[in-house]
């Protein structure tokens, strides 16, 4: 069961995600992690946006796999998923898009899949992970899979050279957080607020205390997700976190593609990511 300990003996395997954090830590910088839902408005657009993000300053990129019944996502992300599904998007075509990106010459930014366990379970864990690994994903976030149900998956990820990034919530007791950290690799996803993904202007201040206590349990990088929407929030949280994840605020800009055209939407997103990552890189 002590996966974390086991895992650390394998650190010589390509660990793209932890390498990114190691490097940023050495520069005292904070990782900026944008989230892009696959297939909204279509997979070409997704590929094109993601390609532009490393240059805009993204250190890692989360790619959302549309799911018909997401219970961990807010309305903005779900709407993006619904749009993608209405276009008939398939999991396999997402893997293909990811493979296309990750096999670009010189591609370095780790890609992390954000995927409901329903989609992992259906084909079978091993089949799903094989494709994930082949596509070039570095890790997976499965937001509806708590450690209690993660046995099969967490055992399998190692074999498939993938990180499994687990989530801690503000309601997670500290001893449970320790367990979660042990199941996790790459980084630990710290949910900022009790609730679902979505933009918020204020994060709860109790988060600081929680992050501090989690630091004492694990050497994993801690990234804050859920509810970060403005570059102005960055400075406040930098000192507590190794990375900041922004989802809905980006998707909201993507939503406008229909109105203002994909090119303009993409430029807006790139600019937005630049602003954020600039704040993250300021020492």
């Amino acid at each position: 069961m002590n996966l974390h300990t086991n895992r650390s003996t394998e650190m010589n395997l390509p660990q793209k995600i932890s390498a990114v954090f190691t490097e940023l830590r050495s520069k005292k910088q904070t990782a900026f992690i944008p989230f892009i839902p696959a297939g909204d408005p279509n997979l070409n657009a997704t590929g094109s946006i993601i390609s532009a993000l490393p240059r805009a300053g993204a250190d890692l990129i989360e790619i959302g796999f549309p799911f018909s019944d997401p219970i961990a996502d807010g309305p903005v992300i779900q709407a993006a998923y619904t749009r993608a599904l209405n276009q008939g998007i398939r999991v396999e075509s997402i893997f293909e898009m990811i493979h296309h990106l990750s096999s670009k010459p010189g591609w370095k930014t780790p890609l992390v899949g954000m995927v409901s366990y329903s989609l992992v379970f259906r084909p079978g864990v091993s089949k799903f992970l094989t494709r994930a690994n082949q596509s070039g994903l570095s890790g997976l976030i499965v937001p509806d899979l708590p450690i209690d149900e993660a046995e099969e998956l967490s055992a399998a990820v190692r074999e498939h050279h993938l990180d499994l990034i687990m989530l801690v919530s503000p309601l997670t007791p500290i001893d449970r957080a320790a367990k979660i950290a042990k199941y996790s690799s790459g980084f630990l996803y710290c949910v900022s607020t009790v609730g679902i993904t979505g933009e918020r202007t204020e994060l709860p201040s109790s988060l600081q205390a929680q992050l501090k206590s989690i630091r004492e349990l694990t050497s994993l990088p801690l990234c804050i997700g859920f509810g970060i929407s403005q570059p102005s929030q960055v400075q406040r949280w930098k000192e507590y976190a190794d990375g900041l994840i922004v989802g809905s605020a980006i998707v909201r800009r993507l939503e406008k593609a229909n109105e203002i055209g994909m090119d303009s939407a993409q430029s807006e997103i790139v600019e937005f990511v630049q602003e954020f990552s600039r704040e993250c890189k300021i020492r």
């Binding site: 398939r90 708590p146 149900e149 099969e152 503000p170 609730g195």
Partner: protein
């Protein structure tokens, strides 16, 4: 027993029950991890784990607390109108020409269906947890009305999530919920129906979990819900079992119930699980036909998957995306089914059959005309199957049908269909 993803593994493990120890074992679920054999569990965001743990703890305490149980009994008796009668349907019996048909009259409960048994029970749990607010999902509105009722009764704030499409279609139930002070929250995401309302309710729960209890309406969702809902609904089967012993001096030969999420069936079947001489039959919605999207026969045509927090049979495409479903009855129009039913199916303890839209209408008509009881369209599925079965069985056999609800809510729809 390992819990493995992918379908082949699971389906291969179905086995024939063969000894009474096995029957006992089948009734001793879920395990501490919320598993019914391979099914169940808690596939939910970390944020919800706190609430699920709290709920499970409080439930276990309440279960063993005489005062809680007495209070629950009192509300069920004086407010809900329990025990519900076990009624000999003389004219249906005559029409079928075989086994004797008895109806367990859940339609006579306050609000007109079995849903209230669970809503009252969970509302009392919420009170015990000192929560001030209830939320629920609803499709046609039966569970929403039951929850709004419990909220009014105990003075909870309440919000019910309902697909925007259903809000439009189910005006009457929306009015009722509002009249009882509940906020009806139209859900516009996804397909704007029950599934989406459930997603939305779960999500909202994540952000309000500290002061809010989410009353799930069937034996679905993450552990401990399937267990809790089954237990609160088991009053149906317990009463029936005792009524049979009192009236016939023996147990019935067959017990039938319709299966949407599966709560009325679970409540009816569970107390009979160990009685191996009692045949148990669940009836799923066959919809228009057996093509994908045209029915809601989860066990007949689905396969194991994860939906709304638990592992169970589910109607999905090959990627794991939830399939569209259809049934003439809104309460059966759900792509999942309770994990315990998946378990009972695999263990062959319960047989699951399919009745289609037209047959259900036939069940509605025959019961209205011969017994003066308008059944819910959900119930009408089970009636059709009961008539079929009774015709094949000997006159000395006793069949009990869980008459899950009354048909008032469906009259407008049946009238509309008849005009077409």
């Amino acid at each position: 027993m390992a819990i493995k993803s992918g379908n082949e593994t699971l389906v291969a493990e179905r086995k024939e029950p063969n000894s009474s120890t096995l029957y006992e074992r089948i009734s001793q679920v879920p395990d501490v991890r919320g598993r019914f054999g391979l099914y169940g569990g808690k596939y939910v965001p970390e944020t919800l784990m706190f609430a699920l743990d709290q709920l499970e703890k409080v439930y276990q305490e309440a279960k063993n607390d005489d005062i809680f149980q007495q209070e629950l009994s009192r509300y069920l008796r004086e407010y809900v109108g329990r025990p519900s009668g076990l009624y000999f349907a003389e004219r249906l019996t005559k029409e079928a020409g075989g086994a004797k048909i008895y109806l367990k009259r859940e339609d006579l409960n306050h609000t007109g269906a079995h849903k209230i048994n669970n809503a009252i029970g969970q509302a009392l749990l919420a009170r015990r947890m000192k929560k001030k607010r209830l939320i629920a999902e609803t499709g046609a509105g039966q569970h929403g009305v039951a929850t709004a009722t419990a909220a009014a009764l105990f003075g909870f704030e309440c919000r019910v999530y309902m697909g925007a499409e259903d809000v439009r279609r189910q005006e009457l139930n929306v009015f009722k919920m509002r009249a009882m002070g509940t906020e009806v929250f139209p859900v516009h995401s996804g397909s704007s129906t029950l599934r989406d309302a459930t997603n939305e309710a779960m999500r909202e729960w994540m952000s309000s979990v500290e002061n809010t209890h989410y009353i799930i309406g069937s034996v679905v969702g993450p552990h401990p819900f399937p267990m809790i809902v089954r237990d609160f609904q088991s009053i149906i089967g317990k009463e029936t079992r005792q009524q049979c012993l009192d009236q016939f001096n023996r147990l019935p030969d067959v017990v039938l119930a319709c299966v949407g999420g599966g709560s009325n069936a679970a409540g009816m079947f569970y107390p009979f699980i160990e009685d191996k001489e009692v045949e148990l039959i669940g009836v799923e919605a066959g919809g228009r036909n057996s093509n994908a999207g045209e029915h809601a026969s989860t066990i007949a045509f689905g396969s194991p998957g994860v939906l709304h927090g638990s592992l169970s049979y589910v109607l999905q495409d090959e990627d794991g995306q939830t399939a569209n479903v259809h049934s003439i009855s809104a309460g059966l129009d759900y792509p999942g089914v309770g994990p315990e039913h998946s378990f009972w199916h695999d263990q062959k303890r319960v047989e699951y059959k399919t009745v289609n839209d037209q047959q259900a209408l036939e069940g509605f008509r025959i019961c209205s005309r011969l017994e003066g009881i308008l059944p819910a369209l959900e119930t009408a599925h089970a009636i059709y199957e009961t008539m079929n079965l009774a015709a094949k069985r000997g006159k000395s056999e006793i069949i009990v049908l869980c008459f899950s609800g009354r048909g008032d809510k469906d009259c407008a729809e049946v009238a509309r269909l008849e005009k077409q």
